[in-house]
């Protein structure tokens, strides 16, 4: 899914967060969103996710403005993910249940995802009791299990161990290569921006610039 911003501006009351952003996030690419604290990176991701509709300008998804069905095709993983008070298995299966997918498909996709994560031993444990790294893996798995067209990641790998970071990076990369989906992720990690992302975009208040 291609995401195009046209003259997007956001204010919180009198405070201008960013102004007249024009950018295109290409399909099948991982775009890293970088910038100083307070530049509005998380805010921009929330606008793209449709969680905040109070802005001026236009955001187009494959040339279409945001409509209800589009919510079904995108997802967002937060820096501190909220995991449901259910088992790891149930958390990962949840988006598929919301979409009323057949039971056999739910089982197959959830088990595949759990195996990819190497979380077989934890699948029956309560997800909200897991450690930071494990929680983030479950949140990412839950976001990817229904194969969304657009994945928005708000610093999902900050504050977790190096092994988990490397594992999640590989998972994101595989997902984009395998399914040709779009990923936009906020990162403060220069190595990650260079190695994982196909492209980085700098958000700095009113200015946005990108490099390949």
């Amino acid at each position: 899914m291609e995401v195009k911003l046209e003259q997007v501006s956001k204010r919180y009351g009198q405070k201008l967060i960013f102004e007249n952003l024009n950018e295109t996030f290409e399909s099948g690419k991982i775009t890293g969103l970088v910038g100083d604290n307070g530049a509005g990176k998380s805010t921009l991701l929330r606008l793209i996710a449709g969680l905040d509709l109070d802005y001026t300008g236009h955001i187009y998804y494959d040339g279409q403005p945001l409509r209800k069905p589009l919510y079904q095709q995108m997802t967002m993983v937060f820096q501190t993910p909220y995991l449901l008070k259910r088992s790891v298995y149930d958390n990962i299966a949840y988006p598929l249940e919301l979409r009323h997918r057949p039971a056999a498909e739910i089982k197959q996709k959830t088990e595949t995802m759990i195996a990819r994560l190497g979380l077989e031993k934890l699948e029956k444990q309560y997800a909200h009791k897991l450690s930071g790294g494990e929680s983030q893996k479950v949140a990412l798995a839950r976001a990817l299990v229904f194969e969304p067209e657009l994945v928005l990641l708000d610093e999902p790998m900050s504050g977790i161990d190096a092994a988990s970071v490397s594992f999640m990076e590989q998972m994101i990369q595989d997902y984009v290569r395998e399914y040709h989906k779009t990923v936009i992720m906020i990162t403060h990690n220069t190595r990650q921006a260079q190695e994982l992302c196909d492209r980085t975009v700098h958000l700095n208040g009113a200015w946005m610039g990108g490099n390949q």
């Binding site: 996710a49 449709g50 969680l51 919510y71 079904q72 095709q73 995108m74 997802t75 967002m76 993983v77 993910p81 909220y82 449901l84 008070k85 949840y94 988006p95 919301l98 979409r99 309560y126 009791k129 839950r142 976001a143 229904f146 928005l152």
Partner: protein
């Protein structure tokens, strides 16, 4: 002093001998308050979860109104229901006055603001984060509402049990709309009140003890539930 001791022993005898009148009163109390709390919870929890998940003008006003209604005196509720259900009232033709149904209606009105206020504040405080997650996973508004209820079920259960405590221990409203009719609308609190004024302490003590046991059981259930949830 002797009459108190004698009354206490007689009360124990009534409890353990299975006195039909005594246990009939206890049974009606549990049925009336249980029905009221189930009806209130089934209506109020989904409704105020739905409202709590929305941003709108007047949120603070609603919070304050619900807070104020929470402490509404039960006699005022009794008065309002009496006026509505009495023969000359707008719903007088239903002939519900002095029936257990009238008592259930009064208790639903009495406990609803309590459950509504606590649910609303909890959903505003924690539910919106859960709703946000629901939205990012593709949940509809209805699905998000039920997701929030499911995630907050421990807290909502505790509020419901608190509501039951309030319902079963109140006397004003059920006295006014039920009339304390023997074998028909007589519940624990109205009977204790009546027997106290008559100086007949045996059954009053027995009912008082049962009410305390019910209260202890409720607290034990809540305590155990909270401990279990903390372990989850």
């Amino acid at each position: 002093m002797d009459y108190i001791i004698a009354g206490f022993w007689k009360a124990l005898d009534m409890i353990f001998s299975g006195d039909p009148e005594l246990w009939g009163i206890v049974g009606l109390s549990l049925r009336v308050s249980g029905s009221a709390i189930i009806i209130a919870a089934l209506v109020i929890i989904p409704l105020f979860t739905f409202i709590g998940l929305r941003s709108f003008r007047g949120e603070r006003v609603l919070s304050r109104v619900l807070n104020a209604l929470m402490s509404m005196p039960s006699v005022v509720v009794g008065l309002l229901v009496s006026v509505t259900l009495s023969r000359r009232g707008p719903l007088g033709h239903l002939q519900l006055m002095y029936t257990p149904t009238a008592m259930i209606i009064a208790q639903v009105i009495l406990v609803s603001p309590l459950i509504a206020c606590l649910t609303y504040e909890m959903v505003k405080h924690r539910g919106r984060e859960i709703q946000k997650l629901g939205q990012t996973l593709g949940a509809s508004k209805i699905q998000s509402t039920f997701m929030v209820i499911s995630e907050l079920k421990s807290e909502l259960f505790i509020y419901t049990v608190n509501g039951f405590s309030r319902a079963i221990s109140e006397v004003g409203a059920v006295m006014m709309v039920g009339g304390n009719i023997k074998g028909d609308t007589r519940v624990i609190t109205t009977t204790i009140s009546m027997l106290n004024s008559m100086g007949d302490y045996a059954m009053a003590f027995a009912l008082g003890m049962i009410l305390i046991v019910i209260s202890l059981v409720i607290n034990a259930v809540l305590y155990t539930y909270k401990e279990k949830r903390a372990d989850v």
